[in-house]
């Protein structure tokens, strides 16, 4: 993996917009009706998966503001309480970019495990906030299945982002 200084200032370029484009594209894609019965109930926020990847590998190209905006877009489209996914996306960015040295130094499975922790946090936080806003606790099973679906999808999304990183950004 190419090393870089995440604190160095970054100039704007089209290639630099690739991670942002992928995050927003996957956010929209995750909400498209797939024609699978009841898939919408457990569909994971695909933008979160992509954000986690880019926060580890290229946090310089996806800043906390972009994470907030992607989360807010997810909030807006999903119909859940505004601000929930914005918080989750920003917290995910912080966790992923803060632990990137650990993830980069180990195999993909450690990265996958790290994302699993994020999926659990995301499910628990959104469940809690929606319980407070709605005034009642929702069943946990759909939340659990959504988290499991997100973990299952992560290798696919990470592969897509890795391919984009190689192709568009010219990095190994």
């Amino acid at each position: 993996m190419t090393s870089f200084d995440s604190d160095a200032p970054i100039g704007f370029s089209l290639q630099g917009a690739v991670p942002l484009f992928l995050i927003f594209f996957l956010t929209f894609l995750g909400m498209a009706p797939l024609g699978l019965t009841d898939y919408g109930t457990i569909a994971p926020p695909l933008g979160l998966l992509a954000l986690f990847y880019w926060a580890v590998y290229r946090p310089d190209l996806v800043g906390p503001f972009a994470a907030f905006l992607a989360g807010f877009v997810t909030d807006t489209l999903s119909g859940t309480a505004l601000g929930v996914y914005a918080f989750i996306f920003v917290a995910t960015y912080g966790m992923a970019s803060g632990q990137r040295q650990l993830f980069l130094a180990h195999s993909f499975f450690i990265l996958w495990w790290g994302f699993a922790m994020v999926a659990v946090f995301s499910g628990a936080f959104s469940w809690f906030i929606n319980a407070v806003v709605g005034g009642a606790f929702m069943p946990l099973r759909p939340v659990l299945f959504q988290a499991l679906t997100a973990v299952a999808f992560f290798p696919l999304i990470a592969g897509l982002c890795g391919f984009a990183q190689k192709l568009m950004l010219g990095e190994k």
Partner: protein, 283 residues
């Protein structure tokens, strides 16, 4: 180097600030839900074209796969459709006889005809919500005559209600959402109750009279109570599990919606003219 250090500090500082901003947005949407929904409707309107573009190829592929899968079942499907067609012909004969009888009775009572309903057909471009809310976004908005509160049908059954409207898109709250309540009655025995969603594919039936005799297979239609849903719309059928739990299977396949019909019942009108009611219209 100092610039790099400043950049890293700025990023960490902005991370903390944005977390607080997100918490602020949560509290604001909790305190002012109406303002939040207006903002959501406008934002959805802006993103609707993007959703539509992305959903189109997916819907096409999904439809193609479904068609290919159905090829192997064409013969059985053909037989089933022939039998259904025969049954529907019998229903049609009965319906025409009942319509004529109804028309005659309305004439005797001097009842005004129900106002004609306008229908807007809209494509579902996003199935959103996840485990906490069940709603969909469709490609029809205020420019198409859609307004908040209109009901949406799918496959001839009730699917939901419009809860927010943009110029070109609308959000439909499905009847299996935990916040959805639909006054219903059984089609034959006319027992009244309330349908409640719990974010699962099936619905709950609540607020039944103590001596209500509900049987598996009973069909439920909207009762019109409360004036939110027009009366007579098919909702679902009663299913009783092995443990005796009563659940309602919706007519509309809520987990696989592709097109919705949004109906506008028009301006409510009095059903009875003054001549039909003794003393009515007199001071």
């Amino acid at each position: 180097m100092p610039l790099a250090l400043a950049g890293g500090f700025f990023q960490r500082f902005s991370l903390v600030i944005l977390l607080f901003v997100a918490v602020g947005v949560i509290l604001f949407s909790f305190a002012r839900p109406g303002t939040g929904e207006e903002l959501r409707a406008q934002a959805t309107d802006i993103m609707a074209p993007g959703l539509s573009v992305i959903s189109q190829p997916i819907t096409s592929v999904s439809s193609l796969i479904s068609t290919l899968a159905n090829v192997t079942e064409l013969r059985a499907e053909n037989e089933r459709l022939k039998a259904e067609n025969e049954k529907l012909r019998q229903y049609q004969t009965a319906a025409m006889r009942l319509e004529a009888e109804n028309k005659g009775l309305r004439g005797l009572l001097k009842m005004k005809a129900d106002p004609a309903r306008r229908v807007v057909t809209a494509k579902v471009i996003a199935d959103v919500g996840g485990p906490f809310v069940r709603n969909v976004i469709v490609t029809a908005g205020s420019d198409d005559g859609v307004r908040s509160g209109l009901v949406a049908l799918a496959e001839g059954g009730l699917a939901g209600r419009v809860i927010s409207v943009g110029k070109h898109s609308s959000r439909i709250l499905l009847i299996n959402d935990v916040n959805a309540r639909v006054p219903v009655l059984t089609e034959v025995s006319r027992i009244r109750g309330m349908i409640a969603g719990d974010n699962s594919p099936e619905l709950q039936l609540t607020q039944l009279p103590p001596d209500a005799d509900i049987k598996a297979g009973d069909h439920l239609i909207t009762s019109g109570a409360g004036g939110i849903y027009p009366p007579g719309l098919p909702v679902g059928a009663v299913a009783i599990s092995e443990r005796g739990a009563v659940r309602i299977t919706p007519v509309a396949n809520l987990g696989r919606l592709e097109m919705l019909q949004i109906i506008d019942p028009g301006t409510p009108a009095d059903l009875l003219s003054p001549e039909a009611v003794p003393g009515a219209g007199n001071p």
